[in-house]
């Protein structure tokens, strides 16, 4: 097992990893930008290094400074968390070149899966159903030809993309040039990679993803599925739950089966997530995320497995301590993302000082957060302040518990998604379960129409 791990991230996930390390008896080293000097992840870690100023390109993406911090402090491994360098194969390679274990899959697999067009080709070869679409397109003209072939509506996607960035829905040829230019610029800015591909837009599918764990000795298990269909118009997830409600048992089994087969086929190791679009009986592979995900706690709570600890154990070469037969989900878990953004103004992110911060507690509630009363939300980073997770024996009890928890939550100083999410939980369609990714955008459109 590792003795010392550098956590190459910030925010709640840096704390989450720090907790897993400490429970495994591992010493931790945090990195931080000048804007995060007072952040909780810096205080909780055993050591901390400032790696640059606020802008991510000079701090949390500053590979030389991060690797240097790991070497100076005598780390034997790096946990990248999610976002930033988590799916950067070059970073994983550089870490390995310096004798540091990257806690994640092999660089070649990160590359193959991170390049969404390559991932789709590999998955197709492994017999996984995929959406009709293209490989990398050279320019907007080639994109136009592909779109004509597969028919509108289409999705333009950055091959290096994630979290809704570098992605645009296009419903007609007139919209294509602008959508292509903005999506590509966004991808360039976020991932330093502006290569784009096109795929058929499946109208209002459910977004259902399967969590997998694979060790370096051939052991592969899944930890069921998560339903992440409550997405903002930007495709960013807002509410996630496990298991997926109102899902046909045969489709559920099929998703689990495809996920583990594909994981084996691509030689995947460590924790990963296969995202699928589900429309009626049809299932399409969308992408594989080669990292721990924001919404991982909902799976942890119903399976009783600590996914971050498993990531560390797997990277240290340990075999999985359980098989598929040992894994049984219990109850239902739901997660609400508390973001510093204004849900009534296109989720515009807000920065500022949090004057009041009160998080919920009590039975069945977990809060993963890095903020506290008086904390400053810098303008440079993701707007997520906290994840509130509720678990209950049934979906109904988990939702009621979440409503109670959101009622206890008080955050002042910036606008947040707390009350808006509470409102969504009361919606009849949401309560019935089985909504598609078009549900929240339609809900917002109805509200806007009602106001005007």
């Amino acid at each position: 097992m590792f003795k010392k791990v550098l956590i190459a991230n910030r925010g709640e996930i840096a704390l989450r990893i720090n907790r897993a390390c400490h429970e495994l008896g591992i010493t931790t080293v945090a990195i931080f930008s000048e804007a995060d000097r007072q952040s909780l992840h810096v205080r909780h870690a055993d050591e901390a290094f400032c790696v640059g100023p606020g802008p991510v390109i000079r701090s949390y993406l500053n590979i030389p400074n991060i690797i240097s911090a790991a070497l100076i402090s005598g780390c034997d491994a790096i946990h990248p968390g999610y976002g930033f360098l988590a799916e950067n194969a070059r970073f994983a390679e550089i870490a390995a070149d310096h004798g540091l274990t990257f806690i994640g899959p092999k660089p070649s697999v990160i590359n193959a899966m991170g390049d969404k067009a390559t991932a789709k080709r590999l998955m197709e070869q492994a017999g996984v159903p995929i959406t009709p679409g293209s490989g990398i397109v050279a320019d907007v003209d080639e994109a136009r030809r592909v779109c004509e072939q597969i028919g509108y509506p289409v999705l333009l996607k950055a091959t290096a993309g994630g979290g809704g960035k570098g992605m645009r829905a296009v419903s007609s040829v007139e919209e294509l040039p602008t959508a292509y230019a903005t999506a590509q610029a966004e991808a360039e800015a976020s991932f330093k990679d502006g290569r784009m591909y096109v795929e058929k837009l499946i109208v209002n599918p459910r977004h259902i993803e399967v969590q997998v764990l694979a060790d370096e000795h051939g052991g592969v298990v899944h930890l069921g599925e998560r339903d992440c269909s409550v997405q903002k118009p930007s495709h960013q997830k807002l509410i996630e739950e496990a298991p997926a409600p109102e899902l046909d048992a045969a489709i559920r089994d099929r998703l689990h089966e495809i996920a583990t087969t594909a994981t084996r086929a691509v030689g995947y190791t460590n924790a990963g997530t296969l995202e699928f679009l589900v429309a009626g009986d049809a299932v399409y592979f969308m992408e594989m995320n080669t990292r721990i995900q924001v919404e991982h706690p909902v799976s942890e709570l119903i399976y009783g497995v600590d996914l971050v600890k498993e990531q560390i154990r797997i990277a240290a070469g340990e075999p999985l301590g359980f098989s598929q037969d040992d894994l049984h989900p219990h109850g239902h878990a739901i997660e609400v993302r508390v973001n510093a953004e204004d849900p009534h103004n296109n989720f515009a992110p807000a920065a500022g000082t949090l004057t009041v911060v009160v998080f919920p507690g009590g039975p069945g509630i977990r809060v993963d957060t890095h903020v506290y009363g008086g904390a400053v939300v810098p303008p440079f980073y993701d707007s997520m302040l906290a994840k509130i997770i509720a678990v209950g024996r049934t979906r109904e009890s988990a939702i009621l518990r979440m409503e109670r928890a959101l009622g206890e939550t008080r955050i002042e100083g910036v606008k947040t998604t707390v009350e808006f999410c509470a409102e969504l939980l009361r919606d009849e369609e949401f309560r019935r379960g089985g909504i598609g990714v078009g549900w929240l955008p339609a809900y917002l459109a109805r509200k806007t129409a009602a106001v005007s």
Partner: protein
Amino acid sequence: MATRIRALAGALARSGFARLRVRDGETEIELRRAARSAAPSSYVVAPAEEPAERAAERRADVVASDVVGIVRLLRPPVAEGQDLDGDRDLAFVETLGIRNPVRSRGSGRVCSVFVSDGQPVEYGQPLFAIER
């Protein structure tokens, strides 16, 4: 004096404060954090009774590390009290085998050396103070 400034600069760098002022008998030391930097980028060293104009004349700049790495002092190393003629190398900070030069960015007199050879430093950590 240099030892005290070094200790105070370190304390300021670690703290969340923008400014630190210490008065002790005849001496008053004030360290200020630059708006966009973790490290105090300049400070004023002056006896308490010294007029403000003269204090301003004795302004000192802090040269901070802009990388995470290991300090490699020159041979012979730059010493406190040494006069610098123009922009010159003060030391290197080694990051992943690359020696990043630390420059004086102009003439002046070295009033503090905050680091020793082989010391690990983080981004923004004060390395030298130069009286202009």
